[in-house]
Symmetry: C2
Subunit: 148 residues, 2 copies
């Protein structure tokens, strides 16, 4: 298996997990900056053409994992692979961000939900969406319906 | 930084990268099975409720990386972070699959594009889509337009 290395770090308004919007109806509209390390800047070539990016990063301030956990959006426990909890067997996070603009090795983005200083592992172009009307969202949809 | 560990492995019809559909208009409709290791099975609790899953995995047969590469869908090089090439600084792959059914620690899924035996790193529920009409897809849209 490979050894993860940071390709860059994010500048985010969130210094503590308590500040990150969570739970039902949480909006992720915070602006942030992904700063790519100089040795990887060439890898950003042509990224400006994409409106949205998939950012993969490490929950570097999370220790250990739980197979079951109760997310902020529900009062019942669910399997770790059916939630977005940070306490995962591999502490990998994923965020879809909107690319506002690129400035050299800086990507100005909207929609960050990571803590300030979080190490980035990968960036991929967002190419297509599953049509919303075909999505089923299990326990989350149930929790939303109960909340009314 | 964490040390990646396999949470399971995929059974896919593709034994070799040459067999995986690539390039413009490539369809990923192959069925496969993600087999989660017994020690992580409890983490699948309630996953049945989701129609689509985000699967994060390791390009375990890829060595090294290129900052620029020419993808099968174009004749010009682009930055690694603007493509889905396997030769990435962190060899992490991502696939959106449709969950057909769960059978204990087996997830029967549609849309696999990984090689048979690829180690899985994480599974997350697919919760929402960016509306297609708001997406810009840079060089890929240009290559599609040129192909006509």
């Amino acid at each position: 298996m490979f050894t993860p290395q940071a390709i860059g770090f994010v500048r985010s308004p969130y210094k503590d997990t308590a500040e990150v919007p969570k739970g039902l109806g949480a909006k992720h509209e915070a602006d942030g900056v992904i700063e790519i390390l100089p040795e990887f800047e060439l890898g950003l070539t042509d990224i400006e053409g994409f409106s949205h990016l998939i950012v993969i990063w490490a929950f570097d301030r999370s220790q250990g994992f739980d197979l079951l956990s109760t997310p902020p959006s529900d009062n019942r426990p669910h399997g770790v692979f059916a939630t977005r909890t940070p306490r995962r067997p591999n502490p990998i996070g994923l965020t879809i961000v909107k690319l506002l603009r690129r400035e050299g090795k800086l990507l100005h983005v909207r929609g960050v939900d990571m803590l300030d200083g979080t190490p980035m592992l990968d960036i991929k172009p967002y190419l297509s969406s599953i049509p919303s009307e075909t999505l089923r969202r299990g326990w989350l949809a149930e929790a939303e319906a109960q909340k009314g």
